[in-house]
């Protein structure tokens, strides 16, 4: 009985339509998918990502260099007066650095200048070169912000770059805290 039932079911199933026409023509979408060139990633990183990477790399390398050299006894220590000047602190036409940040920065710079005097010429040169690169980046970002003051990506990048500059000085000056937030601009 079961076999007869299965036979009838099989016979009925074999009569079901195997080809059903779609309600819409699928070809246009298929054609688009197979003929459109596959988007290729640019070989070049976005400009801002490159700038950020450079800044972070410089910051990290200068910090590591300082830490590596910190434990070595310098062969000869010369007491030199640092010629340190502030990096220009503007965020385009519509933004300025906040007072909290400037106060923190002034404190860090004071300690940094004191500690810088104790470094060997080689150490000083390394730190100052790192800071120079960071400040050039700050100038470049500031210039870009002059053209596009409301660009949040640039603002973030500038904030991170200032933070990097502060970190380098903090490591040299032995300052343990620096505070900067987006509200500072």
């Amino acid at each position: 009985m079961n076999e007869r039932r299965d036979d009838k079911l099989t016979a009925a199933a074999q009569q079901l339509a195997t080809g059903i026409q779609p309600q819409r023509d699928l070809w246009p979408d298929i054609e688009r998918a197979i003929t459109e060139p596959v988007p290729r990633r640019s070989r070049w990183m976005p400009m801002f990502a490159q700038a950020a990477a450079i800044v972070l790399l410089v910051g990290a390398s200068s910090g590591l260099t300082y830490l590596a050299m910190k434990d070595d006894t310098p062969a000869e220590i010369q007491q030199l007066r640092p010629e340190y000047t502030f990096a220009r602190a503007s965020f385009g036409t519509n933004h300025t650095l906040g007072r909290d940040y400037l106060d923190t920065r002034a404190d860090v710079v004071a300690r940094f200048e004191q500690q810088l005097e104790r470094l060997s010429p080689a150490e000083r040169q390394d730190v100052e070169q790192s800071l120079e690169v960071i400040r050039e980046a700050i100038d470049d970002i500031n210039a870009a912000l002059q053209q596009d003051p409301d660009n949040t990506l640039l603002q973030d990048l500038l904030m991170k770059t200032y933070h990097e500059e502060l970190n380098v000085m903090r490591k040299v000056g032995g300052v343990t805290q620096s505070v900067m937030s987006r509200r500072d601009i």
Partner: protein, 200 residues
């Protein structure tokens, strides 16, 4: 052996396409042209096979939108893999294999299967029954309400006539499992149709 192929052209705004016969083409020649990058030849292959590919997708998914997506995906994948098609099986069988993969991949990616089962249980008519007539619509609706595994095996084996070995290859399961699922599908279908007053 030459096969008469048709090309569907014209206005698709109303969901209808007209069929215009084109000169006879040998499917192997079309495949060779498509393999060399001829999209027109591939379109001709699409026109020839879309109904069976879409039908399979619709019977396996029970959902018009998903069936359309799966059929599209199957043809896109076929285009990408066309260079590897050596004619060991019929082109239609090869397309069916890709379509089954598209359906299974979609089911794995989405969690809509449970929703589909719920919808299928609530509705009275299967979208796939549109191609059927009379009492066959009841069978089509009953198939649509089958559990996923049983439905897939029944569709491939009983509706499309694939062997247990072919079905198991397509679905990536053991032959014994397809036999068990087919038996389960038959039992459930007979039960459903009996409840509806039909003597299967």
């Amino acid at each position: 052996m030459a096969a008469l192929l048709t090309v569907e052209t014209g206005d698709n705004t109303a969901g209808m396409v007209s069929r215009t016969a084109i000169p006879m083409r040998d499917e192997a020649a079309l495949i060779a042209r498509a393999q060399s990058g001829d999209t027109r030849a591939f379109e001709a292959l699409y026109r020839e096979h879309v109904d069976r590919v879409y039908g399979l997708c619709l019977r396996m998914t029970g959902n018009v939108g998903e069936a359309e997506d799966c059929a599209q995906e199957a043809f896109i994948q076929a285009w990408k893999k066309l260079a590897r098609f050596r004619g060991d099986s019929a082109f239609g069988t090869w397309m069916h294999r890709i379509a089954v993969n598209a359906v299974l991949g979609r089911i794995r990616k989405s969690k809509r299967e449970q929703d589909r089962i719920q919808v299928a249980a609530e509705r009275t008519t299967s979208p796939a029954s549109i191609g059927d007539s009379g009492d066959l619509r009841d069978l089509s609706d009953a198939i649509d309400r089958l559990p996923e595994g049983a439905r897939h095996v029944f569709v491939l084996n009983a509706v499309y006539g694939y062997s247990h070995q072919e079905s198991s290859d397509m679905l990536g399961i053991a032959v014994g499992t397809t036999k068990a699922q087919l038996h389960r599908a038959r039992r459930l279908l007979a039960q459903q149709l009996k409840e509806q007053g039909f003597e299967a």
